[in-house]
């Protein structure tokens, strides 16, 4: 599958072990409601057993995207070549449409905090990330996609809006972007900016696919929990993004309180409907 084809994958879900039986042996209409799956790369960087067997059984039926959480592209530690080697080996096995990870760092001094930690948005950090994206893409022999993470603090030294930071990385490295609309919504609330400003700044040709997810609103801040259905405000922002970016591959993430597959396919049907309506409206306006 070419990079160009990534954005036309359609509507997908995150692959979760709880859903293996429904995907592989469940009702055909449920399986047909999903166009592709995104896998969590680290969950399949294992040597064998059920995880790999199930992964490949699902892969025989669906296109896949590999999505990681441990690339740590913004860390000042050296790139973890053992990790990258395993990532590349998994890609040979899975033949994903694209490999994605986050604009973040996960640890320094050899430690891993297992979280998507925010970067100071400075020229120094930008140059650092650009250099590392170039190295990673060179090693993997293919472009990667970087996702905007939800953040809860900003740095006093921040000098560049996050959307400009992300756009500059894409322009300087040729990497693709994974636009997480929920994360834009969460960070906009947490840091008091306009979510649409963020969407407006994203270069449409760079966007590989879109993430949607639910979150937990604590009134004074929002936590990106991925344990709830997508909220109306995020659906509205998704419609805005589709009007601006055009038809684009979209998937829904659910990482906790995982419901039956049928429930997620109903939410995915809503994504199709929101996207269709947004595109029709965009055509009418044009």
């Amino acid at each position: 599958m070419t990079e160009r084809a990534v954005s036309s994958l359609g509507f997908g879900l995150g692959l979760r072990p709880q859903h293996y039986p429904a995907i592989l042996d469940g009702p055909a209409e449920v399986a047909r409601a999903i166009d592709w799956f995104e896998i969590l790369s680290e969950n399949y960087m294992v040597d064998g057993g059920r995880p790999i067997a199930k992964l490949m059984a699902v892969r025989e039926r669906y296109p896949m995207v590999m999505h990681g959480v441990s690339l740590s592209i913004g860390s000042t530690d050296p790139l973890n070549m053992d990790y990258l080697t395993r990532l590349k080996a998994l890609a040979v096995r899975v033949e994903p449409a694209i490999i994605s990870d986050h604009l973040c760092w996960t640890g320094v001094a050899g430690l891993n905090m297992h979280d998507l930690l925010p970067l100071p948005l400075t020229e120094e950090a930008l140059s650092h990330v650009v250099e590392r994206v170039d190295k990673v893409q060179s090693f993997l022999g293919r472009p990667i996609a970087l996702e905007n993470a939800s953040t809860y603090v900003t740095f006093a030294q921040d000098a560049i809006p996050e959307w400009e930071f992300l756009r500059a990385i894409a322009q300087r490295t040729g990497c693709r972007l994974l636009l997480d609309v929920n994360n834009v919504y969460v960070s906009a609330f947490n840091h008091d900016f306009q979510a649409t400003d963020y969407i407006d700044a994203i270069p449409r040709e760079s966007v590989a696919y879109i993430h949607l997810a639910g979150h937990e609103n604590n009134k004074t801040y929002i936590i990106d929990t991925h344990d709830h259905p997508v909220v109306d405000g995020v659906w509205d922002l998704y419609a805005y993004a589709v009007r601006r970016l055009g038809p684009i591959a979209t998937m829904i993430e659910r990482d906790d309180k995982i419901p039956p597959l049928e429930e997620l396919t109903r939410e995915l049907a809503r994504a199709r409907k929101v996207a269709d309506e947004a595109l029709n409206r965009a055509v009418q306006v044009a």
């Binding site: 680290e42 064998g48 979280d115 930690l117 100071p120 809860y152």
Partner: protein, 265 residues
């Protein structure tokens, strides 16, 4: 502050080693930097404790939720994760429990953690076909003494001093009746996988010694001598053969090798 320093300060804040981060980051119009940074700090400890709970269900059932959480946080403070996959975060837990007060005073904790870890390891260790008795039957008698075994890559074996193998299923099923925490034993547990099913069984210390010897490259002849040192020498060949037969029947052997293989070709 350069990027390297900013990340060090942030990480030190997460680990509770310094509060300097609060002078470096901002909250929002409604919440302070302390509250908003607390989202990251709380998530760090909670996420790792949750993963340890998932990977060590027997230990969690043994300790109970509040005590497990306290133990997990002490462990994480001592052994922060160094691996890109959170699945390996608990790899030093059994060692920690054997070394640190108050857990070191009760061998149930380290034994249960070791058992939980072996089962988790076997779950996604490399695939391999198991050898069977037929592979042994084909060995010409004159080469029996030279038989060496390559064990299944999912196999993990370790000694225990408490009957965690019996207690774990009961704990996980919330079975009635208190555990006999004074119970002690001398045996080893082996855990491995057949296809996708993780198995375990207990073996006595003689068999454990035989297994360790053959894992280390000893021949069947060497193993017979080892057994003969521990039991009636007249009974040793039969006992050694029974041990070997059991291993092949259970599926813990991946390949049977012997000196006749080269000459047979």
């Amino acid at each position: 502050m350069d990027l390297l320093r900013a990340e060090q300060v942030f990480q030190d804040g997460l680990l509770g080693r310094s509060q300097d981060i609060l002078g470096t980051v901002r909250g929002n119009k409604r919440e302070s930097a302390e509250t908003m940074f607390g989202v990251y700090r709380n998530a760090y400890w909670a996420r790792l404790a949750e993963v340890l709970g998932n990977d060590f269900p027997g230990l969690k059932a043994l300790l109970g939720d509040p005590a497990f959480d306290r133990m997990a946080r002490a462990y994480i403070a001592k052994h922060p994760s160094q691996h890109p996959s959170i699945r390996w975060a608990g790899r030093k837990l059994a060692e920690f429990l054997a070394a640190e007060a108050p857990y070191r005073d009760d061998p149930w904790f380290a034994d249960m953690a070791r058992f939980d870890w072996a089962l988790a390891f076997a779950f996604d260790a490399p695939d391999a076909t198991a050898a069977g008795l037929a592979d042994l039957v084909g060995v010409p008698p004159e080469f029996w003494g030279s038989v060496r075994l390559r064990f299944h890559p999912t196999l993990d074996v370790f000694p225990v001093s408490t009957p965690v193998d019996e207690a774990r299923p009961r704990l996980l099923e919330n079975a009635e009746g208190a555990l006999d925490r004074a119970a002690r034993c001398e045996r080893a547990i082996m855990a491995w996988r057949i296809d996708y099913d993780v198995k375990f069984r207990t073996i006595d210390l003689l068999e454990h010694a035989a297994l360790q010897a053959m894992q280390g490259g000893a021949t069947f002849g060497d193993m017979c001598e080892l057994v003969a040192q521990e039991i009636d020498p007249d009974q040793a060949p039969l006992r050694a053969a029974q041990i070997l037969q059991g291993w092949l029947e259970w599926g813990i052997v991946a390949e049977v090798e012997h000196d006749g293989l080269g000459s047979a070709a």
